[in-house]
Symmetry: C2
Subunit: 245 residues, 2 copies
DNA sequence: CGCCCATTTGAGTTTAATCAAAAAACGTGG
DNA sequence: CCACGTTTTTTGATTAAACTCAAATGGGCG
């Protein structure tokens, strides 16, 4: 089941068949969450590691006065922190955008796997570090980019992340996110997001249809976003090594 | 030497004498960096894990057009990512604010330590997770807080982090950061930072003297910042357990 | 003393927020 | 397949927060 995760990890390192079997074993215990519900709440005690098999979700924090910030999106193949269970309680919540299918991984199971598959362990660490890098990039995005650049940057990132797990088709990728959520992710208001998207559509940077978008000219989008994909670390040696040999 | 780190980790879990000895062994190879210089640059290949023994630094990213964002501050006791060496190249840079004394930890040395001291390993994971939580909080800060709230929030965070490593004195703590750097950390301009600080001084929220600040009334500062310290996870069981018993 | 860096202030501008309401799209049950 | 309620998107008018540009002041240090 965790094909998306395996596919993503192979951007970093080639995995042996045994490695992949081990990763496949993670998908045993599955949990379903309805769209619009919280998968985990602030204050909850984290017991397991979650792997997103299907569907979209976001990590968010909220103030008492209602101000909300989405701090990350989860797409299939994503893992929440490898060691969440070290914390006594969650300092944020995760909500499902679409119906979500999760692999719920007991801590022992994961530790066991990491004991026996050093290459997988390294690959999972890479996943963790990439997530941290993405978080830093979001910090930059909110601090120093204009509304137009922020949105363009987010679309670039989402497109590449989805491509890494095989969820794009040509220049098109799924994007089941409302403008209100987009506003909460970019630190803008939904009104301003709407106006900026209109502008992007008008200049042909991006095309929205249904719950997906198309990027006619990635180079152009990348240019207005001032997007540098290096922080996704997708160009590692994975493609050139054979772990079975 | 890594007293600050040990002190911080003990907020999370009690460490045995053997654990502490092992951690002390990390401080063997020391590197000095001058104020104002880069400790590591974007594009460099990370070879070691860095532990900050003394001095302040910041992690930053910069655009070709000069826009810069500080995405984290490092204070004594902080570690950069435990597994940086998994990456082929750095996607950001780290610069010294003051003269910095670093412990340079070879990857083998660290892995070795983690093999033999599971309690330390867990504590180091906790450190890593707290850093990720701080990064998320910065994302929120930039996305949804006003200039005044952002600055107040940063002061709350810095104060608590420094207190956790024993670097505060009463309500006072060191803060060798210029207003330009403060602007780059909060996503503001230095002009606006200056005006907001004036306001904070006028209302008695904070007092600056030399390269330090004093918080006359933490509760008041915390209130204007809408600061919730839960993301620092400093209230774990560390204080109640004895690892030697 | 003089230089450099950091801070401070003023005046005018811009980006994005706010408030309010209409239009469009979506899903669902009849 | 249509009607209807709900959610999402869109638009307009006004306001406010933060930025820009420019210059003066202040502090620390050799």
């Amino acid at each position: 089941m965790p094909q998306r995760l395996i596919r993503k990890l192979e951007h970093f390192t080639r995995l042996s068949d045994a490695d992949k079997d081990a990763l496949n074993g993670l998908g045993r215990k599955v949990r379903l969450c309805e769209a619009g519900t919280d998968i985990i709440r602030e204050g909850d005690t984290p017991e397991n590691v979650n792997l997103f098999l299907d569907g979209w979700a976001y990590r968010y924090k909220q103030l008492e006065d209602g101000r909300r910030q989405i701090v990350a999106f989860f797409v299939p193949g994503d893992l929440c922190d490898l060691h969440v269970f070290v914390f006594r309680e969650m300092d944020h919540a995760i909500a499902a955008i679409t119906p979500v299918r999760l692999a719920v991984i007991p801590r022992e199971h994961l530790l066991n796997l990491m004991d026996r598959h050093p290459r997988v362990t390294r690959a999972l660490w890479w996943e963790t570090l990439v997530n941290a890098a993405i978080q830093r990039e979001w910090t930059f995005n909110l601090g120093r980019r204009t509304a137009l650049e922020r949105l363009a940057h987010l679309f670039c990132e989402v497109f590449l992340r989805l491509r890494a797990v095989g969820l794009t088709e040509g220049n098109t990728c799924p994007f089941p996110v409302t403008q209100v959520e987009l506003a909460d992710a970019t630190g803008l208001t939904s009104v301003h997001v709407n106006r900026t998207l209109r502008e992007m559509r008008a200049s042909g940077l991006i095309v929205f249809k249904g719950r997906q978008f198309t990027v006619p000219d990635f180079l152009a989008l990348r240019k207005v976003a001032l997007f540098n994909p290096n922080y996704l670390h997708l160009d590692h040696e994975g493609a050139y090594l054979n772990a079975n040999a």
